[in-house]
Subunit: 288 residues, 2 copies
DNA sequence: CGAGAGGTTGAATAAAGTCAACAAACGTGG
DNA sequence: CCACGTTTGTTGACTTTATTCAACCTCTCG
């Protein structure tokens, strides 16, 4: 794990990332975007027409495994994912990673750095990525001219906050099965939103990373995926996931406290002895 | 629980909250604050000198149990806690509460409403509270005159985001004991910051609410507090908590084997050595 | 004073983690 | 191209952790 870190060369965003870069805009494999395009990418409705082809934001490419920013590094720029997949992580006092998010197209990175002027998390490319740089100083200066920009920023940050709240709710309240199920559904919807198939896709992250994200061990993630496969909710082959029953996945939840438990007990009592499926999954679907 | 809800009258912030309210500012039991005072309260360094005694923000009082805003309610104002204690919660499809935070003096409420223009969480007063209203429209309009205001807002939102990231890390990675320990430490530090004792304080929330916040059951919270009390890390008497060993709480990872378990082990081994100390505390602190 | 909410504790149970063995895929250099 | 070591994923047996259910206690507060 450390070897990959040391083999990596820290990317310096202000340096030209590719040798053959031209100044100005380029249609294919584009290197610059204007404000309108950035807002579209973020799915944030931009109020006034901002015909700002003069105001361009540079793109930078990162290769799989490269770090976009590290914890404690001085904050100066925000990033928007134009293509590719990443993870953001916290690192605890003993070097253990805690995955916070898996940013992909249209997500913003680096917002956590604004407050203390240092990034509080680390972002790593899980695939080759194309990111748009938003130098924060430039952004705030720009806010003085394009007043609608501040609303864009508030919107993005608020959205991120709501996402994290949902995550807290999930970690605090849901069972392992429900977490994995919702993770898959959220991924599927995300892929759909990006124009890919929501029924068949490839995970870009390891079981370990999924487990860290969901507050589970990699074994629990693996077992849960196998269980979903066995009861026909999904198909699994390594990192290829096929969604077969999205509705069931959406409503799957923790065995609720009182009522379903009573049902379960009543059922097992009335059924008395013979249980045909000793290894059958505890009823995965919501009863309540 | 429902009875308190029904007995409550929805507060309308734009309406005068108390009958004897005077227009303008009032020194004792103040009803208005200027921008500088708001920034000080938020612990956000405000750049330029903003002598804006003309720009005043109204205070509103809420009584214990009252809701500040509810889920789905149209968003129009942010709140800053001037005094008192609150909780914010999500409510799942079956009415179960998930506590997200316990805001207190200097915290901002309502940021989650910006994105969708509707609050996505509910805020409830756990004690009588004094809140400062920041009408969002007014705030953004103000941003056009006082340009440093946007940095204040970015700072507050970023800080909140970092806090939630830390919460995700905690829920994803720590044991029940470690969560409770860190919760107590965080509370103590918060009280210290507000000028109260960090060694002896009163919890403003129930075990159930703490459990919801930490992703645990109320019984686990209760047991953990009792265990900490037994090994001398804290003193507990209902909601009164005394912190006796803050350092141990900060670095705690897991608890020593419980007494019943120790007994069980001793019995099974029965090495003829009579154990005089029932609860030795071997590697209580993090070894690795 | 009594009802009800909040809190503590114990015993049994279920959920998830740990440890371990193995298999499949990947990547690198001969 | 293949052999290899490494990383990733699966599965089983067992252990630990936290939950569930239940009983009981202690405060408030009408």
């Amino acid at each position: 794990m450390l070897s990959t870190q040391t083999s990596e060369i820290r990317s310096v965003p202000s340096t030209t990332p590719s040798p053959s870069m031209e100044a100005g805009r380029q249609r294919q494999g584009r290197l610059w975007s204007n404000l309108k395009e950035v807002c579209d990418l973020l799915h944030i409705p931009v109020a006034g027409s901002v015909n700002t082809d003069e105001l361009l934001f540079q793109h930078v490419q990162f290769k799989t495994g490269q770090r976009i920013h590290t914890i404690g590094q001085p904050f100066d720029t925000l990033y928007i994912v134009n293509s590719g997949f990443l993870k953001t992580v916290l690192i605890d006092e003993f070097g253990n990673e805690q995955v916070l998010s898996f940013p992909m197209k249209g997500d913003m990175l680096g917002v956590d750095g604004i407050h203390t002027k240092h990034y509080s998390s680390e972002a790593v490319a899980l695939s080759d990525c194309d990111l748009i740089l938003l130098p924060f100083k430039k952004l705030t200066a720009l806010g003085r001219i394009h007043l609608e920009l501040e609303n864009v920023m508030y919107g993005v940050m608020s959205r991120e906050l709501v996402r994290e709240q949902a995550m807290i709710g999930m970690l605090g309240a849901l069972s392992a099965e429900a977490r994995v199920a919702r993770f898959l559904v959220a991924l599927a919807e995300r892929f759909a939103q990006m124009g890919y198939s929501s029924k068949l896709f490839n995970l870009r992250m390891t079981r370990h990373e999924i487990g860290s994200y969901l507050g589970l061990t990699l074994e629990t993630v693996s077992r849960t995926l196998s269980a979903f496969n066995e009861i026909g909710l999904i198909s699994v082959d390594q990192r290829t996931i096929g969604i077969k029953d999205a509705d069931a996945l959406k409503t799957l939840r923790r065995l609720p406290p009182s009522r379903s438990r009573a049902k379960q007990l009543a059922a097992s009592k009335s059924k008395s002895s013979s249980e045909p499926h000793p290894a059958a999954l505890p009823q995965l679907l919501a009863a309540i």
